[in-house]
């Protein structure tokens, strides 16, 4: 999954909670969360319809076209 040495970086598009953002393809989920100031927050994350366990945030790199859902607990009945 890691980019090969010398590989040119290319811009990728990722949908996060329905909003499309562009990133460098070497970005990990953990780095993304850090950029959004969500590191350590009580969140859960789904990538392309599958739960991504917290323990994998560091290893998992985002790919072009990924769809992420990041959720929190809110008041509800």
């Amino acid at each position: 999954m890691l980019p090969q040495r010398g590989q040119n970086l290319k811009v990728i598009s990722v949908s996060i909670n329905g909003e499309v953002r562009q990133f460098d393809n070497s970005i990990s989920v953990a780095t993304l969360l850090e950029q959004m100031q969500l590191t350590g927050k009580r969140i859960a994350l789904e990538r392309n319809g599958e739960i991504l366990p917290r323990g994998q945030f560091n290893q998992q790199l985002l790919a072009d076209g990924d769809r992420l859902e990041i959720v929190v607990a809110v008041g509800g009945g």
Partner: protein, 261 residues
């Protein structure tokens, strides 16, 4: 006498009042109402997080820590089995593997009436996936029994529509459900004021779940306290066993002899 507790999925609860955390003015009012209600099981919803636009957004779980309360994530707003299952898988990840959940699959946004076909399908998937499912449903006794057979740990029929405050509209159906299922029956939705909660408990329901009745009261914290007492009073009245109803009383409360002349 053994302590009268509510047993759900092998865990005992002292309070038979379950409350939701929606529609409060702010988290401090939510916290005060939860405290006043004495509820141990608190429902929460799962929604998209901010993605950087509001980094200091307060988090409900900081106010209602999972160490203190049994948090019951719901699937409010889900209209299909697939959406409900996805939501609860996210909730389980969010709550570190916590598997007790409230399943509700709605039929339409006007009535918020449950779609029992989708509810049954979602319940099957969730039970197979290891969830302990407390299920919101209509007051149909046949569906209630099917949900129990699937393996749901509590059946939660509506007393009237969500958020309507119309009270217990069909006590006979609630009774039919209680006659048929072994797991706890918890009235979910429709309670408007304290007497509604007491009536549900007097019927023999094992608990009452409410949100709007407290949150939309003029003084939510005071209403939370009223609901606590209503649920306790209704439960005690059920256990005590009410006197039979009689059109005419043939037995006065005071002695019939020794009257002055």
């Amino acid at each position: 006498m053994n302590k009268d507790t509510l047993l759900i999925a092998g865990k005992s609860y002292n309070s038979r009042l379950l409350i939701g955390t929606g529609k409060y003015k702010d988290f401090s009012e939510t916290q005060a109402a939860v405290e006043a209600s004495g509820a141990e099981i608190i429902t929460i919803a799962i929604r998209r997080s901010n993605i950087g636009q509001n980094p200091n957004e307060p988090n409900l779980l900081d106010v209602l820590p999972p160490s203190k309360y049994t948090l019951l994530p719901n699937t409010a707003g889900c209209y299909s089995a697939d959406d409900a299952v996805r939501t609860l898988r996210l909730a389980r990840e969010l709550l570190n593997g916590h598997s007790l959940v409230k399943l509700e699959v709605l039929g339409d946004p006007q009535s918020l009436y449950p779609n029992v076909v989708e509810t049954l399908a979602a319940a099957k998937t969730l039970v197979a996936d290891g969830f302990q499912v407390m299920v919101y449903t209509s007051d149909d006794p046949i569906i209630a029994k099917q949900l129990e057979d699937i393996g749901c740990v509590a059946i939660m029929p509506l007393a009237s529509l969500i958020g309507s405050g119309m009270g217990i509209l069909n006590p006979w159906n609630l009774q039919l459900i209680m006659d048929r299922v072994q797991v706890p029956v918890i009235v979910d939705a429709g309670v408007g004021t304290a007497s509604d909660a007491a009536i549900a408990m007097e019927l023999g329901c094992h608990g009452v779940l409410m949100n709007t009745a407290i949150a939309a009261a003029q003084q939510p914290v005071l209403m939370a306290s009223a609901m606590k007492q209503a649920v306790e009073a209704g439960r005690m009245a059920f256990l005590a066993g009410r006197m039979p109803k009689k059109l005419y009383s043939a037995s006065p409360s005071s002695p019939t002899s020794g009257l002055i002349n």
